[in-house]
């Protein structure tokens, strides 16, 4: 979040974050490299499902600042609601992007790019994925103490994206 959003707690936290977008990309590359190894302990079931200890190890290996590691670990716990000690690392990074990006447009772009990482249809997302991205961003704002949108408003946002596409309204009124 940039200076224009200085009334956000997220912005206040982003001023003490050292990591950049390139660092996040490096983490993904490290995970992808490890997932290709057959005896890897990092990826458990799916491509980006990573255990917490392994995630922290990777962050330290990539030279992340200890405070960034703490923030990412907290975001990991926030997303790992079932306490399985593993979660999709793309979701953690989507939450973390709020602290790294400079504008709303850049945040959305990078978040959608991150969630579609590793998918067959690159840059194509279905409704469930888009809803997940906005829910994550909303939850992260709540986690840092900012005011949040109700789930109905998040659903309305995604619904309106779909109704804005194509000639659906013409079909309705015919």
């Amino acid at each position: 979040m940039g200076k224009a959003y200085s009334y956000f707690n997220v912005w206040a936290v982003s001023t003490i974050v050292y990591a950049s977008l390139d660092d996040i990309d490096e983490v993904f590359k490290a995970i992808e490299r490890q997932s290709q190894k057959k005896d890897s302990q990092v990826v458990v079931s799916l491509r980006y499902m990573v255990r917490r200890e392994c995630f922290i190890d990777i962050l330290r290996q990539r030279g992340f600042h200890p405070s960034d590691v703490d923030i990412l670990t907290n975001l990991f716990i926030l997303i790992d609601t079932r306490n399985f000690n593993e979660c999709d690392i793309r979701e953690v990074m989507v939450s973390f992007l709020l602290l790294v990006t400079k504008s709303v447009t850049q945040c959305f772009e990078m978040a959608l790019l991150t969630i579609s990482r590793g998918e067959d249809n690159d840059q194509y997302l279905d409704k469930k994925q888009i809803l997940r991205v906005f829910t994550l961003l909303n939850d992260t704002c709540y986690f840092f103490g900012d005011k949040y949108l109700h789930l109905d408003q998040v659903k309305d946002l995604v619904d309106s994206l779909y109704t804005s596409i194509g000639t659906a309204l013409v079909l309705c009124w015919c």
Partner: protein
């Protein structure tokens, strides 16, 4: 149906009518780079990022008294 004594459910009927404008796109995939501008200038996002909605950052921070109250309740 209600008059005849049969059970009816209002919600599916409401969903049927509200989903009519989204025919053909409700479950599809979209090419999101085309809609980034739309999303970032959406009224809900404008509302969310407005200072009026978020309020001053001083109001969100916990002062000493608020922290004491929290610690008291946790005990």
């Amino acid at each position: 149906m209600c008059y005849a004594g049969a059970e009816y459910c209002l919600l599916p009927i409401y969903c049927m009518f509200t989903s009519t404008p989204t025919i053909g796109k409700i479950d599809g995939v979209i090419y999101y780079p085309h809609y980034l501008e739309f999303l970032s200038t959406h009224p809900i996002i404008e509302l969310f990022t407005s200072a009026q909605f978020q309020g001053a950052i001083q109001d969100k921070l916990l002062d000493d008294k608020a922290l004491e109250r929290l610690v008291y309740f946790q005990k």
